[in-house]
């Protein structure tokens, strides 16, 4: 029987070989004549990648070691999942001179089924009827509909994404939530005869795509059904961290054909906000104030996870969905003529709605000054080269201000198309390379898109990009991603994953605002040294709810801040939400062998913070296992608690933490949910006595005190049977429940 099966198998395999469908190898230097001494090799490297990708069985692009770095200037598209990019060790350096990501795995340069055309990039200067005023002699717009293909803008890992303050080089270390001032200006023409409905622009990373999605930070949008009530919305939080929605009305009636101009100015320091708008079908009109608001002291943008800046729709995917998607279909025919973000005040504060807009410096207001002036802390779509058609079909340039020469960043004008998830199989491999990205704080060294399986090994990234390894959110369900022996530094997160099945080992890095930001991921992470992270602001591991997910194991992690205090870390080492559909393995989170090396906290920090999915989404319960912690013994290094939780949807088991000198100022569990709702349990098998401080919850704690001369079964087990706090009139009560099992 076996022989019978084997014969056809052999024939099939042999047939494949006979047909010549075998992986191929292309050497960037030998086969394409690339020479680092001759400058930029972007085109040649892209051609090599395309050639290998065109082979049905893929193959390898070898990038030889060379005395000079291989210089590239724009993203490299790896459109086939069967491509291996192989260097020759540390001698192979690829230097990215552009302000963008380097390798886009699973992203193609063009999509024949939904091609981007020149009509998506119309001129918007000197037009009749006018779009921009005559102060702008030349400008190219971004059009959502060329009559065939709908498209929208996607601007990941750039100042639009991460906050305007990022534009102020070299001061980079913050994002929207720390911007004291935020200004956004927008000019968009409605080309069609209908009204503008839904989201016009914004920042977010959630599936719903509007401000109702907790993963959306801010939008300019109108009622998706009627187009009425155009407004600026932002998720903000007050000084106590309480979140609310800030709404600044821009127009009550739906916006029909014509050009819409919007300006919004927020000053969190002074506690003021206002908005202006105008709608013109003929000439640019002055903007009139539509809203004036007072912000409570301490208000700021909410502490935000991460999300790209988008034009047209705000979603969690770079491709804005199927043309059949009703939300997609409502995207009209719009042309974006000017977009500006800044963190400097531009306009005088109006006293009441209806007042005319006036600049603080008294200068005249023109479209050039609104959208194309690179003043301090500004970023704007470039007026002269918004697109780089020679480089790619859908790359879009934007320009960052402050520097007189401007800095170009890359965004993408991507077609609406369904994702071809996992269509081809195969593994995309990147290995044995040194990446030197010369544009700090933007882009990612490696982006994972529509990849079916990814392996990254022996890769070192030497500059602090926004992300080390990033994910554009194509949500290939549980896409296997193996990462070993790599080192990355990053501004936002050294690893950003969505819906991935991870196998990560020996990952060293310098975290940014966080170390690992994982959305609905599962798998195993073992062996990491995370250090020098004085920018990390909430948690080193941010584990967000996502559409997929599953059991996630994290072990042997050393947080080593070289003895420096992190002044920002106010959350926990780990922050976790349960995923929406974790599969049969459930939302199991297993954290083990965590070593807080030389990190000073002082900020009421927990080891693990558990939360519900954003927006109260219903998820399968989370199951935490937390074991084996080592926390330094210096008082300033003690966490406040092991687990902080207000959710009743998490259950958990915490064990293997040292009692000696581990002074938890709150207690093992900091629970603030409904009384009696805590489903977390601590088990300490090696207690040296009953506790004497902290808060303890009835039914949540069990201690075993071994005998003075340890032997199996000699310990006495106690349970906390009455909640209480030591040092108060109602301390907890412990009840012996018998001997420990042998």
């Amino acid at each position: 029987m076996l022989k019978r099966l084997c014969v056809p198998l052999v024939l099939v395999l042999a047939g494949g070989l006979w047909a010549g469908a075998a992986p191929i190898s292309r050497n960037l230097q030998a086969d394409y004549g690339a020479d680092p001494a001759n400058g930029d090799v972007t085109a040649m490297l892209q051609r090599a990648l395309d050639d290998v990708a065109a082979n049905p069985d893929g193959g390898t692009v070898v990038i030889p070691a060379h005395a000079q770095a291989w210089q590239v200037s724009r993203p490299l598209f790896v459109g086939s999942p069967k491509v291996t990019i192989a260097g020759e060790g540390m001698g192979t350096t690829i230097r990215m001179n552009g302000r963008c990501s380097l390798f886009l795995l699973g992203i193609r340069d063009a999509y024949p089924e939904a091609p981007i055309s020149a009509a998506h990039f119309p001129s918007v200067a000197g037009q009749t009827p006018p779009v921009l005023d005559t102060s702008v002699p030349r400008a190219t717009g971004l059009r959502t509909n060329d009559g065939h293909v709908r498209a929208a803008g996607f601007f990941p890992l750039c100042p639009f994404t991460l906050g305007a303050r990022l534009a102020r080089y070299p001061n980079n270390g913050t994002h929207y939530s720390a911007d004291p001032v935020f200004t956004v200006e927008l000019c968009v023409r409605n080309n069609g005869d209908g009204v503008m409905k839904g989201v016009i622009c914004g920042v977010g990373d959630g599936p719903r795509g509007d401000i109702g999605d907790p993963m959306t930070l801010w939008t300019i949008d109108s009622d998706p059904t009627t187009g009425a009530h155009l407004a600026f919305h932002a998720r903000v939080q007050d000084a106590m961290g309480r979140e609310s929605l800030l709404t600044l009305p821009l127009a009550t009636a739906p916006v029909g054909a014509g050009t819409l101009r919007v300006a919004v100015q927020l000053d969190f320091t002074a506690g003021r906000a206002c908005a202006w708008s105008s709608i013109s079908t003929v000439l640019p009109l002055p903007l009139a104030c539509t809203a004036v608001a007072t912000l409570p002291t301490g208000t700021r943008f909410k502490t935000f996870a991460y999300g790209a800046f988008r034009l047209g729709r705000v979603t969690d995917s770079p491709f804005t969905g199927s043309p059949a998607d009703p939300l997609t279909r409502q995207l009209g025919d719009w042309t974006y003529a000017g977009v500006y973000l800044g963190d400097a005040l531009r306009y005088a504060w109006p006293t009441a709605p209806g007042a005319a807009q006036a600049r603080l410096d008294g200068a005249a207001i023109t479209d050039a000054s609104r959208y194309f002036t690179r003043d301090a802390g500004s970023i704007a779509l470039s007026s002269d080269r918004p697109r780089d058609p020679a480089a790619s079909n859908h790359l879009v340039l934007m320009r960052c201000g402050q520097r007189t020469d401007g800095e170009y960043f890359y965004g993408y004008w991507l077609p609406m198309r369904p994702l071809a998830l996992n269509a081809q199989g195969g593994t995309t491999i990147v290995r044995n390379l040194r990446l030197d990205l010369c544009a700090p704080f933007t882009g990612a060294a490696i982006v994972i898109g529509e990849a079916s399986r990814v392996s990254i090994s022996e890769v070192v990234s030497c500059m602090m990009n926004a992300h080390g390894i990033s994910d554009w959110g194509c949500h290939v369900p549980n896409c296997p991603v193996t990462v070993t022996h790599v080192a990355f530094d990053a501004l936002e997160a050294i690893y950003y994953g969505k819906s991935q099945n991870l196998d990560i080992r020996q990952f060293n890095g310098r975290p940014g605002w966080t170390a690992f930001r994982l959305v609905g991921c599962q798998g195993a992470l073992r062996g990491m040294l995370l250090g020098d992270s004085d920018n990390t602001d909430h948690a080193y591991f941010m584990l967000h709810a996502g559409p997929y997910g599953g059991p996630l194991s994290i072990e042997n992690i050393c947080f080593d801040n070289e003895g420096y205090e992190n002044p920002h870390l106010d959350g926990a080492l780990f922050y976790a939400e349960p995923s929406l559909h974790p599969g049969p393995g459930g939302n199991a989170l297993d954290i083990k062998l965590i070593y807080d090396g030389t990190m000073y906290t002082r900020l009421n920090q927990a080891v693990v913070q558990l939360a519900d999915a954003p927006g109260g989404a219903v998820t399968p319960p989370g199951r935490l296992t937390l074991a084996l912690l080592a926390i330094p013994n210096a008082p300033e290094q003690h966490p406040a608690c092991l687990v902080r939780c207000s959710s009743t949807h998490w259950e958990g088991r915490i064990e293997g933490y040292p009692q000696h000198d581990m002074r938890l100022t709150i207690g093992p569990i900091d629970y603030s949910g409904p009384p009696g709702g805590c489903r977390l349990h601590t088990y300490q098998y090696d207690a040296i006595g009953l506790p004497t401080e902290g808060a303890w919850l009835a039914g949540c704690h069990e201690l075993t005190i071994p005998a003075a001369l340890p032997a199996p079964g000699s310990g006495t087990v106690y349970r906390c049977t009455k909640s209480g706090v030591y040092g108060t009139p109602t301390p907890p009560v412990w009840t012996p429940v018998g001997k420990e099992a042998k």
């Binding site: 005395a67 540390m90 022996h485 050393c558 090396g597 084996l628 330094p632 293997g656 071994p706």
Partner: protein, 775 residues
Amino acid sequence: MMRHLLALLVVGCSLPLLAAMPRVLDITQPCQDYAIAAPGAAHAAETTQAIQQRLDYLSTLSPTGGRVVIPRGDWFLTAPLVLDQGGVELVGAGQDATTLQAVPGKAAMPLVHVAMTRFFPYLPHQPENWVPLAGLLDNTVPAGRYGIRTYTEYPPGGNHLTVKATKSWAEGTAFQPGDAVKVSANYSQITCVCTAVHTASADTRPLQGTHWTQAWTAKVPANVFFSMNPFADGALDPASGRASNLAGMSAYTVELAYVNNSANTARPVAGVCWGEAPQNKVWALYQSDVDSLRLAYNLTLADGTPVSWQDEVNPRGQSPTAIGLYRVVLQFDFTGHRLQAWLRGPNNPTWVRTLNRDLPVGAHFTPTQKASFIFGGYPNGSPYANRSDFDVPYDYTLCGLRMSAVPRYADADALTLRSGGAPTDAIYFANDPGTMGLLPLTDHGEDLRNTGYLVTQVLGDAAGETGEIGYGILWPGAVLVGRQHLRVSDMTLKPGPHWGAGIVNWQGLDSKFWNLTIRGGFYAIGDLPYGCSYTTDIRNCKLSGAHAAVFTDYSAVCLRHVTIDPCGRYGVLLSGANADCDDVTFANPVTHRTEYYLCHVGQTYGGQLQFTHLTGTAPAGSAYPSGGVFDFTHIYPTLVQMQGCRFANLGLDAALLQMTYSRPMAGTAPKTLAITDVQVTGPRLAALVRTDDPELTGVIDAPPGTYRQWVQWLAPAWNATATYAPGDHVVFGQQLYVARTRQANHPPILTGDTDDWRLVRLGLSLRMPSTGNKP
């Protein structure tokens, strides 16, 4: 014809073409005017040069570096290779294809230095660091010897430039000759003295500005450092085929000659040490602040009691700080129970016995797990032991050094050789029977480019490798720099057999040692102390070192798929380290009489230890590893997880785990054990856990019936005639007690605590495997 063409090509490959050179350099292929390697011992010099030249070239491209490829073949070296800049890789053709070893006569040298700096561009060694000995020592000294001076000034030319005023450096400040600033450099300070009137600018910023040497002179200290050789680790113990680590020596003689070049007080001269604390010394000779030359030493008495003693070495009333030549002999005779020292200083025309005391019967040097020998630097075990914080940095010239494993001198006031007669200065260069090692002092500054920091050492028969050459390092101040992303892989290294190392790592960041076979040497892969190497990744390797296959210090190390066969004194020696070991096999503990498969020495770092799928195999009836699987002292917060491990035939007196804490630094660090799914087969062990740690906690799943005791206390039994000080441990009624107060004759009370004694309650939960790890 082809050869001529190649030669032309090589000559034509001038500097402007450097940038076009490849970054994967085969040592057998022409490249620039570099040497071309050839297999075999006869071509060792060319091979060494060929490899090092290519490594040096790639170092100039750091941090991006490149790869030197060593093809299939047996390759020989005349000097250690150095990967001294980031991104440099040394790659062979496979473990079974490429072999690197020392040329005969240099068996004791380390083969590859990783993340070290061979030359120090901004504070370079200078010819002045080597001083001709002619005229310094007597005329019996063979010609061509050079003393090693631990102080120079850079740019060279001065000699202890006078400091008139100490200032702070800031742009715009006016400086006059004689003004001095202390410049922080690499965790140290260098004193720079102004040599020209100038106003401070970035261009002349000391040690940093482009033209700083036009305005400043730096006082550059240095010290001589030895590790992985007999100076640091004692004579060879023939029975175990590894170092005696001094504790096993019945006699120990040090003959030392040095010049004190500057008046100063309170500074060290030499010693064998492994840390900051006073008890972390085997011995140290130092000038104290009371104008005396003292010998501090640590012994273990016959009953196991450690003692730290000090004795004067110079005659009363005579300053040891006078400038001039000092000759010192230290002789520990543990068999004859006598410690003696003789001194001949600038004020002593003849030898004077300045120390003569009895040693207790059964006393021996305190045991060490790791140690360094340092001359002219602070004796803390670090190679980086000298700095110029002091107004007058240590300034010695090392003129002669020999260590022996025999008592060389008669017990008499006059210094008399046991073989008869008075010694001459030729003793320092005589490789007589009983010699562990000596410095031939044949290195000299004119050959600086080739020798770099190396200090040649000649081994004697007490080291087991008579006449073989090892190396120490003349280590300058302020050169502590981490190097990133270095790699050695795919080859076999043959160090040793007893000394040196396959790979020496120091300050390596993200070093990769993959697919290697390294059997021999003191370590197969070893850090220099205080290395702060993280992360060191060792995988798919077959290793063995006489002391340990792997040693790492202040570091994070990952071992995966590693076989250690045979085990040395230890399989893996960790010191203040974090370790992640998975699939590590320890085999043959008999050859070197292994003490523990794993040993962790407590330091102020490390302690995150994960051991999964370890296997230890020994032949039936083996007495080794004699101590057990894991010996652990801790200071820092500690987690030890051991899971899925299998050990067979541990020694009869072994414990699975020995857990102790380091006194007096420890006692407050949280620590916990989690031992699950560990199986021990063979004879019953002495204990599951052997400890003196009153704060040990954890959970251990232990197979029943394998241990004669669950917990064995490492403390003496209470003695009615003894006096106890606070903190003393005693065992009474099978329980461990710690003294609270100073007292005598008050026994602990079996039922618990008293005002005098605290009953130790370990938070150690022991479980049978059938119950699992969870209730």
